[in-house]
């Protein structure tokens, strides 16, 4: 019997506190206005990330090109320098062998 009474008491219909409906409606409105902000933030973050990654990739390509060019220049410079030094050494050796 007690159990039945307890259940009835627990499940009886109760009116919500005054202002409950308006609080719920306010909350729903707040959530709806917040959602578009989140969406724009996500788009802005994606665009920023794309720009940063794109810039970084472009910088890497530029660096690679510059590096390859610098390498070619080093090889050319060392070849010219080596050629002249070797020529001078050969001439000196030839003079030495004539003496």
């Amino acid at each position: 019997m007690n159990l039945e009474n307890d259940l009835k008491r627990a499940l009886r219909a109760e009116s919500p506190a005054p202002g409950f409906a308006s609080r719920v409606m306010e909350r729903i409105e707040r959530e709806q206005t917040r959602k578009p902000h989140r969406w724009w933030r996500a788009v802005a973050a994606s665009l920023t990330l794309t720009a940063v990654l794109g810039g970084w990739a472009a910088h890497q390509v530029h660096q690679r090109r510059e590096g390859e060019r610098a390498k070619e220049q080093v090889l050319l410079a060392l070849r010219i320098a080596g050629e002249k030094v070797r020529y001078a050494q050969t001439e000196v050796r030839d003079i030495g062998s004539h003496d």
């Binding site: 390498k71 090889l75 410079a77 060392l78 010219i80 002249k84 030094v85 020529y87 050494q89």
Partner: protein, 176 residues
Amino acid sequence: MRKVLIAVALMLALAVPASAQKLNLDFPELAERADEVVDVTLDATMLKLAAKFFSGRDPDERAIRDMINGLQGIYVRSYEFKSAGAYDARLIDRVKSQLGPNWKPLVTVRSRTKDNVNIMADLRGENIVGLVIIAAEPREFTVVNIVGNIDIDRLAQLQGEFGIPRIMKDKDDDDE
């Protein structure tokens, strides 16, 4: 304060001879008249960048990488002319006049028909910290300035080895 001043003075004293090694190799009058021009300007930053592109696995490339790691600059100017006597031979003196008291002639080759080569080194103790090569032929004038520690014998070995490509001179007309 005194320590700071001493440190600054030391830094200046070290910086002056290091910067003095780089020569003025601008010969605009030659560039205008030359048939072919080679202009290589590699400062420390460019050399550092280039070094990254030499493979550490390939022994030839590693040797070049090790060589350029000790350098602060490589500057080459080479001018080839259609006819002989197109440049003033006093240019050699103009380059030599820029060299300080540490610079000593290593090799001087004089020839009527082939290259006249002057090799001078900036000697600090037993170390060569700078090198200038002036090669004057009847139809060609070349100056090479290497700034930094350089092994001259190793440099001579580079010619025709280490996969160093044939000289490809830029046509002056192409640059314009």
